[in-house]
């Protein structure tokens, strides 16, 4: 708005301010709605599809790793079972034998086997190969032993054990000569951990393994305390539904929204969990959303700026146009007024000419008398008196006529003032009397007494009625007739009728009669502006003008005008003062 203000510093009226506001709102609504819809729908779709993809991707990932780990575990188990089948239990006490076995395993499968041991039914380790001093270890009370001795094979959870370092055991039970033996191998925790450690995606995605008690089986990259309930739920869901993988999005312990992808491991003893912060997992989506929002905001700012600027400009233009139109209307009214005055002037000129001619003749006559010497006796002196009186009489007549014209010409401004419509009409009738006489037109007025005052422009109303009177007289110019003007009060309005009994107006023209430039007069006579100006003036005053006509009968123009506010129907009421004092 600032820029436009400099060009045209007048403040806008409330109408234009409202117009500007409406335009701005409309443009904004029209622009924002599709933008919102499109952005919203596309983002929504993209978000939904992206979510699906990410979920699918993570599920695949976790599934793959689960399979990896499961096959790792099962492979190690197979190794030990194979070993168990070939070991000679009686002689396994011999140190080298076990060491050889271990060495073979390590050669074949890498350092993933840390040590190897044979434990008898009583829990006594009878043979050991490995880096720790566990030759005579007793495992009778160890948890894993108790479980291992009961089943064919057993994979333990990660625990510290006698060595004080995290590890887990694969145990295979073998019966030999009614004796149960356990072949026990320790799996390198670090190696195992590496399997899971490798699962890293983005910045916050990592995996870990928990057992049924919620104890970590691998070292998680970001340490935290798992909530047992939640993980138990995962366990049960996976088992119950027979799903391979389960995804859940929830808040983690620190309140960060995260994705949890879980799969059962190790025959259901362990849970592989992959966790990633949602914002990280869906970072692409977030980026897209951010970009969309930025574009939306920028676009929005652009739209709003444009809307406001353009609307302001447009409304200024409209205001200027309206202003120009108003000025032009005024000019048209002025022109119409001049035209009326012009018509009037012709009549007035003739009126003046007659008394002037008489004065001229009388003066010349008196001069002739003087030339002839006829100024001596009584009769001559009387003749001079008569002549001079006549001159005086005609002179007065001229004065009257010029006064009439002056009164019409003086009030050419459009000031609103209180006026008595009856007085105005009578004045105009007097002005038109001369022309009426020459055209054999009888002028009648029927004006109610005590009509309430009107609030209007005197000169504009003069123009209106003069126009109607002239039109009527034009219509009856050749034929003569009667022109009657009536004025009465009715329901807070003043009703004025201008009736003539001229030829009337054909129905086809009746509808167009108030159109500007519509005329039935020959070219050069009359502009056709008169009635349209009258219409405009009366409308402006809050009144109305209508026409009724019948061919061969006559025409009546009816004008309604509101009475000045502050004066009611009752003419006797005094107008109330606006302010006290």
């Amino acid at each position: 708005m600032g820029k436009s203000m400099n060009r045209n510093p007048t403040p806008l009226s409330p109408y234009y301010r409202a117009l500007t506001r409406n335009m701005v709102l409309l443009v904004m609504v029209i622009s924002f709605t599709p933008m919102l819809l499109v952005t919203g729908i596309i983002l929504n779709q993209f978000s939904a599809s992206h979510h699906e993809k990410i979920h699918a991707h993570l599920e695949e990932l976790v599934l793959k790793h689960k399979q990896n780990i499961d096959s790792f575990l099962s492979e190690k188990l197979q190794n030990i079972r194979f070993l168990a089948d070939t070991i000679d239990f009686d002689n396994c006490g011999r140190q080298n034998m076990i060491e050889e076995h271990l060495a073979r395993l390590q050669r074949a499968y890498g350092p993933v086997f840390v040590d190897l041991g044979v434990v008898n039914e009583q829990g006594q380790q009878v043979a050991y190969a490995g880096p720790f001093k566990l030759e005579k270890a007793r495992y009778a009370d160890a948890d894993w032993f108790k479980k291992a001795i009961e089943s064919n094979y057993f994979t333990s959870d990660v625990f510290l054990g006698l060595r004080g370092a995290p590890h887990f055991i694969i145990a295979v039970r073998k019966s030999c000569q009614d004796q149960k033996w356990i072949i026990r191998a320790t799996i390198d925790f670090v190696e195992f951990n590496r399997l899971v450690e490798k699962v890293r995606i983005g910045e916050t995605g990592f995996a870990y393994i928990l057992n049924r008690e919620g104890q970590f089986q691998t070292k998680p990259i970001f340490d935290f305390t798992p909530d047992l309930d939640i993980y138990n739920r995962y366990f049960s869901t996976l088992e119950r539904m027979g799903k391979e993988v389960e995804i859940q999005e929830r808040l983690d312990g620190t309140g960060v929204k995260s994705l949890y992808v879980s799969a059962l491991l190790n025959g259901g003893d362990w849970l592989l969990v992959y966790k990633q912060a949602s914002s990280d997992a869906f970072s692409d989506l977030r980026n897209a959303q951010v970009i969309a929002v930025i574009i939306f905001v920028l676009g929005g700012i652009a739209i709003v700026t444009m809307a406001v600027w353009m609307s302001a400009k447009m409304v200024r233009r409209i205001a200027t146009s309206d202003n120009e139109k108003e000025i032009m209307n005024q000019q048209v009214i002025e022109t119409g007024k001049l035209a009326s005055v012009g018509e009037l002037a012709a009549g007035i000129a003739h009126e003046i000419n007659n008394p002037v001619a008489i004065m001229f003749e009388e003066a010349n006559w008196l001069r002739d008398l003087i030339e002839d010497g006829a100024y001596k006796d009584e009769a001559d002196i009387q003749e001079f008196e008569r002549g001079l009186n006549q001159i005086r009489t005609q002179g007065l007549r001229c004065k009257e006529i010029t006064l009439k014209l002056l009164s019409f010409a003086r009030k050419t401004d459009s000031r609103i003032e209180d006026l008595d419509i009856g007085h105005l009409i009578e004045e105009l009738m007097a002005l038109s009397a001369q022309r009426a006489k020459y055209s054999n037109i009888e002028l009648l007025t029927r004006i109610e007494h005590e009509l309430p005052t009107l609030s209007a422009s005197y000169s504009e109303l003069q123009q209106v009625f003069l126009n109607l009177i002239n039109n009527a007289m034009d219509a009856m110019d050749k034929t003569g007739g009667t022109l009657e003007i009536s004025a009465k009060q009715e329901e807070g309005q003043i009703l004025i009728g201008v009736t003539d009994n001229g030829p009337g107006i054909p129905k086809a023209n009746l509808g167009r009669i108030f159109d500007p430039f519509f005329t039935t007069k020959p070219v050069g006579s009359g502009t056709g502006l008169g009635l349209s100006i009258c219409y405009g003036i009366i409308q402006k005053m809050g009144g109305g003008i209508t026409v009724k006509s019948a061919l061969e009968v006559g025409t009546t123009f009816e004008i309604r005008m509101p009475v000045k506010t502050g004066e009611g129907l009752d003419n006797q009421t005094v107008a109330e003062p606006d302010t006290c004092n």
């Binding site: 003739h350 001229f360 003749e361 009388e362 010349n364 006559w365 002839d372 006549q390 009489t393 020459y438």
Partner: protein, 143 residues
């Protein structure tokens, strides 16, 4: 003998009176009428008028109508239109309808008299021609 016998037709009574007084003094016989019908009556009743000085703007029968009627009833009478400034067009219209000339109000007396003389002259010439034609016609009958 008078220069001419004329009739002044105008609705402005003081004007007609003043004019006739002056014209009479200048040796012109003046008849007066104050409207068209009166003029026609007087013209047809007593046919001595030679020139009519006719105001264009009159109530009742206006100037042009009166002119037409005069030219119909007493065609040999010459008509001079008298006009105020606003009605010059009507005067010219009148000339098309057979008026001899037009004069502006207020008129210069000498100018008016000159015109009257001319008009009267024409009327007399015209009448003479008619008489001559009649004589010729009679004499040819017996030739």
């Amino acid at each position: 003998m008078a220069i001419a016998t004329i009739m002044l037709v105008d609705d402005e009574i003081p004007f007609v009176e003043a004019m006739s007084k002056r014209l009479t003094r200048k040796n012109i016989e003046v008849e007066t009428a104050f409207n068209g019908s009166e003029a026609l009556e007087k013209l047809t009743a007593c046919r001595i008028t030679e020139v009519v000085i006719l105001d264009v703007k009159m109530p009742g029968m206006d100037g042009l109508e009166t002119l037409k009627a005069i030219k119909q009833r007493v065609p040999l009478v010459e008509v001079i239109m008298l006009t105020g400034h606003a009605t010059v067009e009507s005067a010219i219209e009148g000339m098309k309808l057979g008026a001899f000339d037009y004069l502006m109000k207020p008129c210069d007396m000498d100018h008016l008299i000159a015109k009257v003389r001319e008009a009267a002259e024409r009327k007399r010439q015209h009448e003479e021609k008619i008489i001559n034609a009649r004589i010729k016609e009679i004499t040819n009958r017996y030739a």
